[in-house]
C-alpha cells in the first residue's frame, strides 16, 4: 500500500505539471462537444430542387409552393423542359427534379389521377433518400388535401385510405442532439481514457525510466494500479465536464439516474484503460502506440453504433460490435439518458464490460514483463 502511495503521488505530480495533457483533457471535450453535434447533423436540409412545370396551373403552383414552404428544399431553378433540369443535376446544382406534366390539373379533375416524375441525384445517398422521402410525404399530403376539398363531408368516403401517424417514444421531437451528444461523449471518454494511459507508459519506456522501475522490487500490479488510478480519476472528471456541457449547451438532462451513469462509466474506464495498457505493452515508442490506437479508434468510431445503428449491420459486423466495449457504453448511455432505464436493464451490459475489463487488464499485466 505504501508503494502505491508513492506511485500515485508521483503520477499526480507529473500529470499536473504536464500542461499539454491538461489542455487536451479539458479543451478537447469542450470544443468537440460544442462544435461536432452542430455540424455533423443527420437532418437533411437545403436540398436543391428544380421544377419543370409544364402545366402552369393553379394546382401545379400550389404543389410547388407546398414543397418549397416545407423548409427542407431550396429552389434551384424552374426550367422550361426536363433537359435543362437534367443539366442542373449534371452540374450538381440540383439534387431533385420534379416534372409536372401537361394537363396535370385537367387530368386530376377529370380522371381523378395523375402521375408526377421525380428524379433524384443519388451521388450523395443520404441526401437523396431522405430528400425523396420528404418529397413523397409532402406530395401525399397535397394529394389528401385535394381529396378533402372534393369530397363533401356528408358523402361517404368511397376510397378509404390508411393514414400512418408515428409517435416517437423516448425522443418525441426526434432531437438530433439528444441522440448524438451522449454518443460523442462516449467516444471522447474512450479516446482520451485509452490514449492517455498508453501514451503515459510508452513515454516511460522511451525516457528509460521504466527500466529503473523494473529494477526495483515494485510489484507489477502496484505499478499498473499507480497508472490506472490517476487516469481513472481524470476520466471521471472528463465525463462530468461532458455531462455539464450537455446540460448547459443542449439542455440534455438524463432521464434516468445519474448515479447509474457514473456506475457504468466507472467500470467502463477500467476496461478501456486496460485496453490502453495492453497497447502500451506491445509498443516501444509513442509513435507505435499512436498508430495502434488510431487503428482501433477507427473501428470504434464506425462500428460502435454511434453513427449507424448496429441492428442494420451485417451479421459478421455485429460479432465485432459485440466484442468492442464502446458499443455497450453507447447503448447504456442512450438507455439511461434518453429512455431512463434502470439498474436491472443495464446490468447485463455492466457485467459484459466488467468481464472485458478483467480480461484486458489481466492480459496487460501478464504481458508487461519486468524481466525479458
Amino acid at each position: 500500500m505504501r508503494t502505491l502511495k508513492f506511485l500515485l503521488q508521483k503520477e499526480f505530480r507529473q500529470i499536473f505539471r504536464n500542461k499539454s495533457l491538461l489542455r487536451m483533457l479539458f479543451m478537447v471535450p469542450i470544443v468537440q462537444l460544442i462544435i461536432l453535434p452542430q455540424a455533423a447533423n443527420f437532418t437533411v436540409k437545403n436540398i436543391n430542387i428544380a421544377f419543370v412545370d409544364l402545366d402552369h396551373s393553379t394546382y401545379s403552383q400550389q404543389l410547388i409552393n407546398k414543397v418549397l414552404s416545407s423548409g427542407y428544399f431550396k429552389l434551384a431553378a424552374s426550367t422550361p423542359d426536363y433537359k435543362a433540369a437534367y443539366e442542373l443535376i449534371e452540374k450538381d446544382k440540383a439534387d431533385i427534379v420534379v416534372e409536372i406534366p401537361h394537363d396535370f390539373e385537367r387530368n386530376l379533375e377529370t380522371e381523378g389521377t395523375q402521375k408526377l416524375s421525380v428524379s433524384v441525384n443519388a451521388i450523395n445517398g443520404v441526401k437523396a433518400s431522405v430528400g425523396s422521402g420528404y418529397l413523397t410525404s409532402i406530395i401525399q399530403d397535397y394529394n389528401n388535401n385535394i381529396r378533402v376539398n372534393w369530397i363533401q363531408p356528408s358523402k361517404i368516403n368511397q376510397l378509404p385510405t390508411i393514414e400512418v401517424v408515428a409517435s416517437n417514444w423516448y425522443n418525441p421531437t426526434l432531437s438530433y442532439y439528444l441522440f448524438m451528444v451522449p454518443g460523442i461523449l462516449v467516444l471522447l471518454v474512450t479516446l482520451i481514457g485509452g490514449n492517455m494511459t498508453s501514451q503515459n507508459i510508452v513515454r516511460e519506456k522511451e525516457m528509460g525510466t521504466i527500466e529503473q522501475i523494473n529494477v526495483t522490487p515494485i510489484k507489477k500490479y502496484h505499478f499498473i494500479l499507480g497508472k490506472l488510478i490517476p487516469f481513472w480519476v481524470l476520466g471521471i472528471l472528463l465525463f462530468t465536464l461532458g455531462l455539464l456541457i450537455a446540460r448547459v449547451v443542449y439542455g440534455i438532462v438524463p432521464l434516468g439516474s445519474v448515479a447509474l451513469l457514473y456506475l457504468f462509466v466507472s467500470v467502463y474506464l477500467v476496461t478501456i484503460m486496460g485496453f490502453g495498457l495492453l497497447i502500451s505493452t506491445y509498443s516501444e515508442t509513442p509513435m507505435q502506440a499512436t498508430s495502434l490506437t488510431f487503428f482501433f479508434v477507427q473501428i470504434f468510431n464506425l462500428m460502435g453504433g454511434l453513427f449507424t445503428p448496429i441492428d442494420s449491420m451485417p451479421a459478421w459486423a455485429k460479432v465485432i460490435t459485440d466484442v468492442i466495449p464502446i458499443s455497450y457504453f453507447i447503448k447504456v448511455m442512450r438507455m439511461i439518458v434518453i429512455k431512463g432505464s434502470h439498474f436491472q436493464d443495464i446490468l447485463p451490459h455492466i457485467l459484459i464490460v466488467l468481464l472485458m475489463g478483467v480480461v484486458l487488464n489481466t492480459w496487460a499485466i501478464i504481458n508487461y514483463r519486468k524481466t525479458t
Binding site: 503521488q9 525516457m207 525510466t209 529503473q212 526495483t216 522490487p217 525479458t372
Partner: protein
C-alpha cells in the same frame, strides 16, 4: 572473502546471436569491479542478466546469494542500478525524485527525511531541491542518479556507463562518490569504456565478443601484458574482436 556475485558459463543468446558467451567470474563484497569492453562486447547484456532485467539463456548466476532464474524479484531488493540512459524523472524535482525512489524501496518516512537531507547536503544541491531535474546539468544529474541508486543501502550497485558524456572534473567527483560507497561496504559493479577509469577499479574484466578475455587487478594485468597502462592491454585484446560497433 565473501562472494556477492558468482556466475558460471552464463550465456545470453538473441536468436543465433550470442551476446554473452559462457562467462564465469566472481565478485567479492566491497569490491569495485570494472567491466570493460568495446560497444557491442556484451557488457550491458551481462549486467542486465545480473540485475534480473534479462533472463539468461543458460549457465548459472547468483547475485547476493540469490539465483537469477528463480527469484529475480528478490535480487531487486538487494541491488541498486543506474543505467547509461538517464533514469530519473525529469518532470519531478530533485527532492521528489529522491523521496519517490526511497519510498518505493520501502524506507520509513523518518528514514526518507534523514536520507534526503543527507544526500542533498552531500551533493551541495540545497539551492536546487525544488528545481525540476530537467533543468540540472548532466554531471549533477548523474551524481544525483547514483545517490538515488544507493539510497536504500543495497548490497551491490550496478552502474552501466555512469560517466558517459560527463566532463573530466565531474567524473573525478563521481569516482569519489563510488569510493565512498565502496567504503561503506557496497559492492560496485561498473561498466565503462573510459579506460583511465579502469585504473580506479580493484579488479577489471575485459570482454571481447561476448567472452571474458582477461580478469585481474589492473597492476597484474599490466604486468602480464608487459605494458604501462590498461589502454595498451585493452588494445591488444580488442584487436582480436570480430564484431563491429552495434
Amino acid at each position: 572473502m565473501e562472494t556477492v556475485i558468482k556466475t558460471k558459463d552464463l550465456t545470453k543468446k538473441f536468436g543465433d546471436f550470442v551476446a554473452v558467451d559462457k562467462i564465469t567470474f566472481e565478485v567479492h563484497k566491497g569490491e569495485i569491479f570494472g567491466f570493460l569492453g568495446a560497444n557491442g562486447a556484451g557488457k550491458t547484456t551481462a549486467m542486465r542478466m545480473l540485475c534480473g532485467l534479462s533472463r539468461p539463456t543458460s549457465g548459472e548466476a547468483m547475485v547476493a546469494g540469490i539465483d537469477v532464474y528463480h527469484k529475480p524479484e528478490e535480487i531487486k531488493k538487494n541491488i541498486g542500478y543506474m543505467s547509461q540512459k538517464f533514469s530519473l524523472y525529469e518532470d519531478l524535482t530533485v527532492l521528489e525524485n529522491i523521496k519517490f525512489y526511497a519510498g518505493i524501496y520501502g524506507l520509513s518516512d523518518k528514514d526518507i527525511k534523514e536520507k534526503s537531507d543527507e544526500l542533498v547536503e552531500k551533493l551541495g544541491l540545497q539551492s536546487q531541491v525544488k528545481k525540476l531535474v530537467q533543468g540540472l546539468p548532466l554531471g549533477w544529474r548523474q551524481k544525483l542518479a547514483f545517490s538515488v541508486a544507493i539510497v536504500h543501502q543495497p548490497k551491490i550497485v550496478f552502474l552501466d556507463e555512469p560517466t558517459g558524456g560527463v566532463d573530466p572534473s565531474t567524473r573525478k567527483q563521481f569516482w569519489d562518490m563510488i569510493y565512498d560507497a565502496s567504503e561503506k561496504g557496497i559492492t560496485i559493479f561498473v561498466t565503462t569504456h573510459y579506460l583511465d577509469e579502469a585504473e580506479y577499479c580493484d579488479r577489471i574484466c575485459i570482454m571481447v565478443d561476448g567472452k571474458i578475455k582477461a580478469l585481474d587487478t589492473p597492476s597484474q594485468l599490466k604486468q602480464n601484458y608487459k605494458v604501462n597502462n590498461i589502454t595498451e592491454v585493452f588494445y591488444q585484446l580488442a584487436r582480436t574482436a570480430k564484431r563491429g560497433d552495434d
